[in-house]
Symmetry: C3
Subunit: 112 residues, 3 copies
């Protein structure tokens, strides 16, 4: 299993969620975050305001997936997060050894 984390522009989150649902993803976790990438110091626009400060608001999305879904899920996220402007986001993948679904006690891919 894998944990896919994506840090994206907040206004792209609804489209990303919808595309993940259409793909068949059954769950995800969202956290408010902020950050910067390579153009720190350059301006990045957020809600009409230009951020010259270095920490621009972002949303951090986490999705647990089976190994066989990882590449497709990355593609879905990248496609929907993409605007072509700087600050579009970063996606990374970490190996997961165990997943537990609390209500049922299930473990492994069935628990996702």
């Amino acid at each position: 299993m894998k944990l896919i984390t994506a840090v994206v522009k907040p206004f792209r989150v609804d489209d990303i969620k919808e595309a993940l649902r259409t793909f068949g993803i059954q769950g995800l976790t969202v956290t408010e975050a902020s950050g910067y990438g390579r153009q720190r110091g350059h301006t990045e626009v957020y809600r009409g305001a230009e951020y010259q400060v270095d920490l621009v608001p972002k949303v951090r999305i986490e999705v647990l997936v089976e190994d066989s879904d990882a590449e497709d899920v990355i593609d879905v996220i990248v496609k929907k997060a993409h605007t072509g402007k700087i600050g579009d986001g970063k996606v990374w993948v970490v190996p997961v050894e165990t997943v537990v679904r609390v209500r049922t006690g299930e473990r492994g891919p069935d628990a996702i």
Copy 2:
């Protein structure tokens, strides 16, 4: 070492923290989050309100543990997070290569 992440119902957090302390866990990190699992679209109750919207408030708990504690810590969390109702939570485990305790500079299991 392992990083155990649990996304649980907010009202279960105090009991989970207390049980982890009793078990002997010495530290943890908490983040506000929101998410959905398999019943997205169904209603989930939070603070007396029914959430038909898809992102229900959750708390994300992270616990660094030695390998030999991982299974027990998962059990403690799952037992205390469990209510039997949908949305009880998800727990996952990721391998950790290094841990540093900033004040002392210690590394490895002793740094947890």
Copy 3:
């Protein structure tokens, strides 16, 4: 590639960010968090207030790095997070299998 996560005192974040920039780190993600370490129950001072409660406000910093930068980046963070007082923080390292830069579609170390 590695994901370095640091949970530190909020007032150390600006110095940490500046030192990481000087080192050459091009991006990072910040999240508000809270937590406790080994002195839970003892007081920890935050903004002039003593926290006897167990969850003290912290900032969670995530930095994706190439393998060869991991040790140096840990050192930079630890040095700048360090005050010598309890609660200085914890840093941990997790392996990363894939990184994608959304705007360009680049993958791997070049995408960091």
